[in-house]
Symmetry: C2
């Protein structure tokens, strides 16, 4: 089976600091044409960081796009030329003040493949060492330690509504507890 | 704690058939200014549809944004004025030919709250009735029945890499099997 869409034309409509947006005209398998609105994103990492007391490091932050605060796992976009591991270490330090001495790659997934190429690389961090807090210039957030079981329950109760956080916590739980 | 960002100005940069993109200038808690690039999306539904043989209805489709095929649960964007339930019934019919006689709302989550307001409403469908296939005009996909346990395993092996599909399958599995 092959549902490939041939690109007939591609027009960049926006280029910002984080995102680009383009509109592709595509040729469908049946010979008709359609358009695809595509948001280009540099990709990101997210990390389920687990303390020796089986707590997960989480951050509460305001998300302008939805005009509300969310409880999320630490995450951040990849800088140009930056390795995923270094990105995880940097973001975890910036957002929680902890450095991970043990970092395990879990998986990568697409957050919104219907309109964006954003890919998120998920890691599990252990053996955490507290260093000084070093907050991002324009990032305001509050770090929290949440017992792993409680975090899973916050998914069930609807308190956690961020997709990467749900995915990350459930996959890490499955990986570590092995009883999914 | 209050990390609210006051909107100083908002400028629409793109308005398409599916997406809008705007750039907001915001005032941060420390008095500094920053900008937020925000993609506006109409919202969508996704459904974990389970057959009486404990299979999940899935669709394989080409995603232009990432230039590859993905294996996903049926989903689609909300049309203006359309209820979530009607949207689920319509999308499931269009993509698989099945109509759900039993529909249960599970939860809603944000796919990319760092840059988009897209919200996804997740349902579980049961008591499925096969009706005729009625494919979307510009949507090409192949419906597949995947045993529930096998679908969960496809997450672990990295064959399923779509965030809403991972989230939906794991939450439905947790809800139905109760052994997460």
């Amino acid at each position: 089976m092959e549902f490939y869409e041939t690109t007939l034309s591609s027009k960049q409509m926006f280029s910002g600091n984080l995102l680009k947006l383009r509109v592709d005209e595509v040729l469908l398998p049946n010979g008709r044409k359609s358009t695809r609105e595509i948001v280009e994103h540099p990709g990101a990492v997210a990390v389920v960081a687990i303390t020796e007391n089986d707590e997960v490091l989480m951050v509460r932050q305001y998300r302008k796009a939805i005009e509300r605060e969310l409880l999320e796992i630490p995450a951040g976009k990849l800088e140009e030329g930056e390795s995923r591991e270094v990105c995880v270490e940097r973001e975890l330090m910036e957002e929680t003040g902890y450095f991970p001495n043990e970092l395990t790659y879990l998986t990568s997934f697409y957050t919104s493949p219907g309109f964006s190429n954003e890919i998120l690389h998920l890691f599990i961090a252990k053996n955490l060492i507290k260093k000084s807090r070093d907050a991002d210039f324009d990032e305001y957030l509050q770090a929290e330690k949440v017992p792993f079981e409680e975090a899973i329950n916050k998914i069930r109760t609807g308190e956690i509504v961020d997709s990467k956080t749900i995915t990350g916590l459930l996959l890490a739980y499955d990986q570590i507890k092995g009883d999914l």
